[in-house]
Symmetry: none
Subunit: 241 residues, 4 copies
Amino acid sequence: MASKKRKPPPRTYPAHRERQRKRILDAAEKLFVERGIDRVTMAELTAASGLQPSTMYQYFSKKDDIVWAIVGNIMARVSARSSEADASAKSGLDKIIAFLEYMAEELSNQRAQVRFMAQFDAMYSHDWPVERRLSLEAESNNMGSEVFREMIREGMADGSLRSDLDPDLTMQAIVNAAIGTQRRLASLGNKVELEYGQSIDRLFRETIRVIVLGLRATGSPQNEPSKRVKGRKVTPARRTK
Amino acid sequence: MASKKRKPPPRTYPAHRERQRKRILDAAEKLFVERGIDRVTMAELTAASGLQPSTMYQYFSKKDDIVWAIVGNIMARVSARSSEADASAKSGLDKIIAFLEYMAEELSNQRAQVRFMAQFDAMYSHDWPVERRLSLEAESNNMGSEVFREMIREGMADGSLRSDLDPDLTMQAIVNAAIGTQRRLASLGNKVELEYGQSIDRLFRETIRVIVLGLRATGSPQNEPSKRVKGRKVTPARRTK
Amino acid sequence: MASKKRKPPPRTYPAHRERQRKRILDAAEKLFVERGIDRVTMAELTAASGLQPSTMYQYFSKKDDIVWAIVGNIMARVSARSSEADASAKSGLDKIIAFLEYMAEELSNQRAQVRFMAQFDAMYSHDWPVERRLSLEAESNNMGSEVFREMIREGMADGSLRSDLDPDLTMQAIVNAAIGTQRRLASLGNKVELEYGQSIDRLFRETIRVIVLGLRATGSPQNEPSKRVKGRKVTPARRTK
Amino acid sequence: MASKKRKPPPRTYPAHRERQRKRILDAAEKLFVERGIDRVTMAELTAASGLQPSTMYQYFSKKDDIVWAIVGNIMARVSARSSEADASAKSGLDKIIAFLEYMAEELSNQRAQVRFMAQFDAMYSHDWPVERRLSLEAESNNMGSEVFREMIREGMADGSLRSDLDPDLTMQAIVNAAIGTQRRLASLGNKVELEYGQSIDRLFRETIRVIVLGLRATGSPQNEPSKRVKGRKVTPARRTK
DNA sequence: AATGAATGAGCATTCATTCAT
DNA sequence: TATGAATGAATGCTCATTCAT
C-alpha cells in the first residue's frame, strides 16, 4: 500500500530504524501495562523512549498505531510460543490440556502482557474495525481456530473427548472462556488475592481443570491438567477418593 | 464551627434530587457503554443529561464518582435479580445451573451493562482502592461468595456434584470464569459473530454446559443447562450421531 | 454561636439581622486575613458563617460589599481607638508620638487587621472608586488629616517641632510613611523575623524613633518615643549620648 | 533506560527562546500592574503575548512561575541600578541620601514596577516559601543589608550620623520604612493626589527628608536630600529661616 | 427570613499532532 | 533522521450569583 518510492534510495538505515521502533514499542508496552492504555500520554511515551515527540511521529503517525503494533507483537509472541506447546502431546485431549496450561503459564509469567490485551479488548474492540483485528490475527496466528478445532476433532476421534461436542462451537467456547478467565484475572491483579485469598494461578488452574473434566469422555483416563503452581507441583488440594 | 444545625426539617427536595441523579446516571451509563468510559467527557455527560456542567457538579463532584455510582447500581441490580434466580432449584447443581443461566440471560438482555463492567474491571480495578470495591460488593451482594460456596457444599452433599472439589476454590474459579467469559463476549460484541460466525449466546451457553459437565458427579442425572437461546428452547445443536 | 432559635415571632427582626451580619463579617475578616482577600471564595465564606450561599446574598449582594464593610469596620475601630490615644499628651510632638505609638500597638495587637488593610490597598485601591474610599473615611475618620495637621501646627507653635516644616505636606508624609511601614511589616509577617532577625515591633519602633527625631526642634527636650516592646520598657539597645 | 545522549550540540534556538520569554514577561508585567496579579488570567496573558495558551506553557508551566520571574527581574534591575547610585557619595550620610533618592526616582519613573512589588508582598509573601524569596534576593542583591549596614557604620564613624544608632536595627528599619512608604504611594497611585492634593513625589521626598534629619548627627552640615521633583530642582517649599 | 437548586461564564492546564529547519 | 517550537481544540472543574419556593 505505502509505495516505498520517494527518492531512489535516500540511503536509509533500516537497522537503526528498526532499533528505534523497538525502543518505542518496549517503552510503550511497559507504560500501557503499568497505567492503562488511555492513561498514558504521547509525551510520556516519548520521554520513556528517550526521543523527542516529533521524532516519535517519524515512526508512528498516531498513538493508535503504537497500540496496534504492540497488540501485533503480543499476538505474534503468543502464537509462536503456543505452537511449541503441544509438541509432545499425543491425544487430542492432551493437546487441549497443553494449550490451556500454556495459558496458565502465560498468566503467571506474562501477566502484564495479558493485562494489556484485556484492556485492549475492553476499550478498543468496539471502536476499531474488525478487519484490522482480523488481519492481525491472520498475520500471526497459526495456532488459531484451525488448529484448535483440529484438536477437538482429533480428541473425539481418539476417544479422549466426549462424543457429544460440536467441534466448531466447543472450540470457540473453550478458547473464549479460557481467554476471558485469564484476562479477567490479569486485570484484577493483586485485587484477586486481596479479595478472595486465592492466588491467581490456583484459580486459573482450577478453572481449566473443571473445563477439561467437562470435555473429557466419561471413561477417559485420568490425565488431568497438572496442579503445578508457579512451576512446582502442589499436593492435590482435594481428596480424590 | 459550622453551627450544628439539626436540619430542623431537612427541607430538601429529595424526590427531585433523586430524579436528577437518576437522569444523570442513566445518560452516563448509556454513553459509557456506547463509547467507553474514558472516551466520554464530562461535557458530553452534562449535555446528555440536559444539565449544565455546574449543575452536574452539584450531584457528582468527580467523574469517578459517576462511574462508581453506576457500578454500584449495576451490582445492586444484578444481585437483586440473581437472588430470585435460584428460587426453584432443588439440588446444589441445579442452583449452580440456575445461576449460570441467569448470567446467560444477563448477557443477552443487558449486554451493554455487562460491557460496562468489563471496561470497569479492565481499566480501573488496578487504580482504585480495593476497599471501595469491596464496600460496594458488601453493600449490594447478598448472592456473593457465601451463597455460592454454599451451593457447592450442598451439591457435594446431595451427590449432584463430584466429590473431589474444594468448595472455596471451585466456587471462586467458576464464578470468575463465568464472569470473565461473559464480559469478554460482551466486550467483543458484534465482533464475535463477525469473527467466528457464532452468536454470543450460543458461545456462552456452550461454555456453561462444559463447566457444568465438569462439575457434575459422574453418575449424576442428565440435568444439563438448557439450550434455550434468547428465551426459546433450541433443538440441540449437536446430536453427534 | 449556633443560634438556638426555632421561630420566635414572625415579624421582621432588625436585631437578628444585625447579628447575622456580624457573624458574616467576623467569619469573612478571619478568612480574608488568613488566606488573602481574593483567595477566599463565597462558598468558604458561607460555610464559615454557617449560612447558605443564598442566605448570604440577603445580607450582602456582592462579595465586594463584604470587603468594603470590613474595611469600614476596621477604619471605624481604628479611628475610635486612636482618638483616645492623644488624650493626655501636652505638646504637639507628644501628640504625634502618641499617635505613632498607637500604631505600633496596633501592629502588635491587631496584626491581622493591619495585614488585611495592606492587601486591600495593594489590590483594590486602583480599581475602586475614590469616592467610595473617601466616603468611608469621612464616615469614620475623626482623627484624619484635620486633626493631624493640627498637631503639627501646634508643635511648631509650642516649639516642640522644628520650624521649617510644611504642616500639610509633613503631616501627610508622616502619616503615609507610618502606615506604609506598618502595613509592610504586617504583610511580611513572620518572614520579617526569619529574614532579618529583628522583631516586627522593634523595627517599627525604631522607625518612629527616627521619624520623631527628624521632626523635633533641634533644642527640643528628650521626649523620645518609648522603647517599649509589646508593652514592656526595654533597656535602650543603643548607646545614647 | 532513556539513552544517556550527551546532547551532541545543544541544538536549541536559545536566542529565539529568550526573546519569547521576554515577550511574555513584558506583557505579563504590564497586565499585572494594570489590573492586579490575581485579576489577570492566563488567557489574557497569552493573548497579550500574542501566543497560544499551549505555547505559553512551554515557557512557564504555572502562573506563579511567571510572577516569580518578574519579581526576579525587578529585583535584579533594582539592584543593578541602585549599586550605581552611591558612586559619588562621600560620607555615610551622603550614601544613605543617595540611596533614598534613588528610591524616589524609582517611584517616579518605575511606578508600575513598584506597584507590582507592593502587590506581590501584600498578596503572596505569606503563602510562598521564604526560601524562594531569599534565594531570589541572594541572586540579585548586591546592595542588600550588608552594603547598607556598612553605610550606617561609616556614617557613624565619619560623624555624619548620630552616634546613638544601632547599625543593624536602624538599617533595617530605614530600609523597610522607605520601601513601605514607596510601595504604598505606588499602590494608591493617582488616588494619592486626588485624596490629598500632594504629588506622590513630593510626599516621598518629604518623608526621606524627615528620616534623614532623624539620622543626622546634631551638628552635621546641611546636606539635606535635594528637593528635586522629577529631575528638576524645586525651590524650597518652605522658607528655612 | 431562609434555602435548595440551577447556571453562565470562565479558569488553568493538557495533549496529540504539525511544521520548519 | 532528528528535533525545537508551535498550536487548536479540548478537558475537568470552579465560582459568584440568581431564582423559585
